[in-house]
């Protein structure tokens, strides 16, 4: 099997071939097995695509349980998007189970109330719905935590005449700088410039 074909891209011009041969002579690659050249280039390309595909984009449910409590006829579990909440938008999800049968309750209304524990605490209300949840056994809401500090989260669950209320306290850290959220986009052009510089340097060889 010949791997040379990968090196010799069909559109390569004569000058391109000369450059490659010159580079081969200078780096002593002439003696390298041709099949090996093909393999390493194929691997390089495959890894490049794998790198594009995977790391930046895989998503997972990183929710953590911040409260699990029985109340009234229900067992209520509250999840937050991450263990450390910060001021700004945060994902809060609720799973409601029947206290006796432990079946998941899906036809209930869930209201989230957030109250700042500081003086003159504000009260914010959010309705958690299945539409907003990725996992359709949960009800989710994107709650906007306006400031850092301690907040009291109260979850009200209602199904017909059945009601339940649970509450917990959340410690909310100050928001990260905006740049912290968008830094990959700012780094991208720098990386592109570095790759381009490497490309140009390799072409000069």
């Amino acid at each position: 099997m010949s791997g040379r074909a990968i090196v010799r891209y069909p559109e390569s011009s004569r000058a391109f071939s000369r450059l490659r041969e010159k580079a081969d002579r200078e780096t002593g690659r002439e003696g390298m097995p041709r099949k090996f050249r093909g393999r390493v280039k194929a691997l390089g390309l495959a890894m490049l695509f794998a790198a594009i595909l995977v790391p930046a984009s895989l998503r997972a449910d990183g929710g953590v349980v911040c409260l699990r409590k029985a109340s009234g006829p229900f067992v209520i579990t509250v999840f937050t998007g991450s263990a450390e909440l910060r001021a700004g938008p945060a994902d809060v999800s609720v799973m409601v189970e029947n206290r006796v049968s432990r079946e998941i309750v899906l036809d209930d209304d869930v209201l989230l109330c957030l109250q700042s524990t500081g003086p003159g605490g504000r009260v914010l209300e959010f309705r958690a719905t299945r539409q907003q949840a990725t996992n359709k056994l949960l009800k989710s809401a994107i709650v906007d935590l306006p400031a850092a500090g301690e907040w009291k989260l109260t979850v009200l669950v209602r199904r017909g005449a059945e009601k339940a209320i649970v509450s917990t306290h959340l410690q909310v850290a100050p928001p990260l700088p905006r740049l912290a959220a968008i830094w990959p986009f700012l780094v991208l052009p720098v990386l592109a410039m570095m790759v381009f510089a490497a490309n140009q340097a390799l072409r000069q060889r």
């Binding site: 099997m1 998503r59 997972a60 991450s82 949840a133 390799l202």
Partner: protein, 762 residues
């Protein structure tokens, strides 16, 4: 099925960027596979395509299906997800022998110029040799598998989205390496004898078996996080762990032993699969011959190509836009004065602008192709008055650049976006202007010298990947009639005086396709080129000349680029606050003088200082014998990709926020105009097309692309002036700093709260 079961099956979480990347990879592979397949039907049989696509599909299933939503609740679901990433997706992808098809599926320039130098890099060769060594592959896969099943690491991944992604990336990446020596995708060659593969697989299976057995028989809950969450389907955390371990053990053993058995049969078989008889050099030579013109040609695309080539194809597009323009006129003059409830307040500003710039960035100048304002030209010609040539002293872009700058200023200073009547007047003026100019002057003088929208599209289309171009130059050298330019009895030639054999880029091209229809040799297509290829070099273009000699085109480019930043900045919160502060401080009656001054500074003063100053600094640093004017012109035009990216990012925001406004506005317009069948409008708070986070990501990515393309165009321009690398870098540096500053200002603007225009706020 129970409602819980239905909810489970509905829990898909489709990641947009990964899905897009997988689709692009699949498309590139399929394109390359099809090209290779045409050469030799047995070179890459259909099952390899099926394997590759199935591998991508299983990868997508692992991260988008309900498995992902339930992996925090059920270890079994998490295990299935991991098995897909470890034992299903990697071998299937490698069975597709992806290297050559992917390489062949890429555009030629990307494969040869961008990837070529890296693929020939000796260091990469050495690293790849080490990476694909079977011992290394086995060790990495084993370490990843064992390491991530350590309870502390597993809990870390469950509690953090970022670490969860790292975990999945580790599993997938290490598994690609593990399966590499087993499958040995074409055209790689083994480093160890083939008989070692069954042993290698057996050893891999042992690691898998040990972990699976440990999960089954440890007798204690290894991952406490699963005890803290509600238990689904009555499955206790311990039973869930046992089930996951058994699954890993059984399925893993099946795959490892099955693969080992297959390889053993292959070794014992007298006729192993062999791709060697086909010389790869012959493959490439044949591929070159088989490229049949090479570039993608939109006119040869099924359906769309035929539609565009059809005699009345363009007329149909123009007719549709004419109907919309007439509706805008009618509703603008007669409809409600509230812009978000009026077609004139929504269609041109929210939709038409956004679609036009997106088309320019992604394809080409299709707005001019469908432009309804040129239809009056046909009417004017019937009068027989168009006997004069456009005056020599007006044959430049100065008038159009001034009109474009005036339009940007008027849009903000006179709040055109908020005045349906003013919008309708502009549309009417456009029809009247096009009719008047083309009634008295020959050719497409209005398009070439007057129309500000056309000039915007012309300069922006220098970034576009599609271009009206001759397919084979040798055909043109034999052509004696030059119908594409002069026309013939059936079809007129190019009215913008572009001689196709010497045409380069899309400057001044309205995509009218008159040349296509006039060419008797069917030698003109809409061909694909690398984006900004037209800015990366500066040949003498037909009817345009060289960019470095055209100060008027440079001025047009600067108005377009700085207009993008000024227009977006004028509608963000800090600017509004700043404006109000100065209006109050200076006791002004209105913000009109302030806005006017801002646009003068942004569209005239800033470009002169930024581009003129950086070009002068670069010239001083390199001391090259080139005029400042040439440097200024070339570097001004090189900014266009960044400007277009800013336009797209900005208008994408309005398109996304006002996405659902069109239908109720159409209903309202129908009622206003006495057309009842569109139904009653349902005014409601508009849902955005893209979620806020996704929109910002898309905007920043587009701006990044604009910056990268601008820097590339600038680098090529600097190289043209100063061939030595060090001199080119010195010439480029001041300009590059200015470009980065412009990009930073664009990022800042996108991060600010922006006025939502063209949508109901009820």
């Amino acid at each position: 099925m129970s409602s819980a079961g239905q909810a489970l099956l509905a829990s898909w979480s489709i990641p947009p960027w990964t899905t897009f990347a997988i689709l692009v990879t699949a498309a590139v592979y399929a394109r390359g596979w099809r090209r290779l397949r045409r050469l030799h039907s047995s070179l890459l049989p259909g099952w390899r395509l099926a394997c590759f696509l199935a591998g991508l599909a299983s990868l997508w299933l692992a991260i988008a299906s309900p498995l992902d939503a339930f992996d925090a609740f059920l270890l079994t679901a998490h295990m299935v997800q991991h098995l897909l990433l470890i034992l299903v997706a990697p071998p299937l992808i490698l069975l597709g022998s992806p290297a050559i098809p992917l390489l062949r599926g890429l555009p030629r320039s990307a494969a040869r110029d961008a990837l070529g130098p890296f693929l020939r890099w000796p260091w990469l060769g050495r690293a790849s040799r080490a990476l694909t060594h079977p011992a290394f592959c086995w060790l990495v896969a084993a370490l990843a598998l064992i390491g991530w099943h350590v309870p502390a690491a597993y809990d870390l991944a469950l509690g953090s989205l970022g670490w969860h992604e790292v975990e999945h990336a580790c599993f997938f990446g290490s598994s690609v390496l593990f399966w590499w020596p087993v499958i040995q995708p074409w055209p790689s060659a083994p480093q160890w004898p083939r008989w070692t593969v069954p042993v290698y697989l057996l050893l891999g299976g042992i690691v898998n078996t040990v972990i699976g057995a440990f999960l089954c028989f440890s007798g204690r809950l290894l991952y406490p996080a699963y005890a803290a969450v509600p238990r689904l389907f009555g499955l206790s955390a311990m039973n869930d762990q046992v089930a996951a371990g058994a699954l890993m053990w059984a399925f893993g053993s099946f795959v490892f032993l099955g693969a080992g058995t297959l390889v053993t049969f292959q070794l014992l078989s007298p006729a192993p699969e062999n791709l060697e008889p086909i010389s790869q050099n012959a493959v490439w030579t044949a591929a070159e011959t088989h490229r049949a013109g090479g570039r993608f040609d939109l006119l040869k695309a099924p359906l769309l190509g035929a539609f565009l080539r059809a005699r009345h194809g363009r007329r149909i597009l123009q007719g549709i836009l004419l109907v919309l323009a007439l509706a805008v006129l009618a509703d603008g003059f007669l409809g409600p004065s509230m812009a978000p409830m009026n077609l004139a307040g929504v269609l041109p500003w929210t939709y038409a602008r956004a679609f036009a710039v997106i088309a320019l960035l992604a394809a080409g100048n299709f707005f001019c192709m469908a432009c309804p304002f040129t239809l009056p030209r046909e009417l004017a010609r019937c009068l027989g008055l168009a006997t004069r040539n456009w005056p020599h002293w007006l044959r430049s872009k100065w008038l159009a650049a001034a009109l474009l700058a005036g339009f940007f200023w008027a849009y903000e200073a006179l709040s055109l976006w908020n005045s349906p009547a003013a919008t309708a007047w502009i549309v009417a003026a456009y029809f009247l202007g096009a009719f008047t100019v083309d009634a008295f002057f020959r050719g497409a003088s209005f398009c070439k010298y007057v129309c500000p929208i056309g000039q915007f599209s012309f300069i922006a289309s220098t970034v576009s990947p599609l271009e009206v171009r001759v397919r084979r130059r040798e055909v043109c050298t034999r052509c004696a009639t030059q119908d594409c330019f002069r026309g013939n009895e059936r079809q007129r030639g190019c009215e913008l005086r572009l001689y196709l054999p010497q045409k380069s880029g899309s400057m001044d091209c309205t995509f009218c396709l008159d040349c296509v229809k006039a060419c008797p040799h069917d030698n003109i297509g809409i061909l694909a080129f690398a984006p900004v290829h037209d800015l990366a070099r500066d040949p003498k273009r037909s009817s345009v000349g060289r960019f470095r000699d055209r100060l008027d085109i440079a001025a047009l480019a600067l108005v377009m680029v700085f207009g993008a930043f000024a227009g977006a900045a004028a509608m963000v919160g800090p600017f509004t606050a700043w404006k109000e502060y100065w209006v109050e401080r200076l006791h002004l009656v209105s913000a009109f003088p302030f806005t006017s001054l801002f646009f003068v500074a942004a569209l005239i003063v800033a470009p002169l200082i930024v581009v003129g100053g950086s070009a002068a600094a670069g010239r001083w640093a390199t001391r090259i014998p080139r005029s400042l004017r040439q440097l200024f012109c070339r570097f001004a035009v090189a900014l266009v990709p960044l400007g277009l990216a800013m336009w797209v990012s900005h208008l994408l925001f309005h398109l996304s926020t006002g996405w659902r406004t069109a239908w109720p506005v159409l209903g309202q317009a129908g009622i206003d105009l006495g057309v009842g069948w569109l139904g009653q409008p349902h005014w409601a708070m508009s849902h955005p097309l893209l979620a806020a986070g996704t929109l910002l990501d898309a905007q920043l990515l587009i701006l990044d692309a604009g910056l990268i393309l601008t820097l590339y165009a600038g680098w090529r321009a600097a190289q043209a002036f100063a061939p030595r690398v060090s001199a080119a870098l010195r010439l480029l540096a001041p300009w590059a700093v200015a470009v980065w500053a412009l990009y930073a200002s664009g990022v800042w603007i996108l991060l600010q709260p922006m006025q939502m225009r063209g949508m109901m706020m009820r």
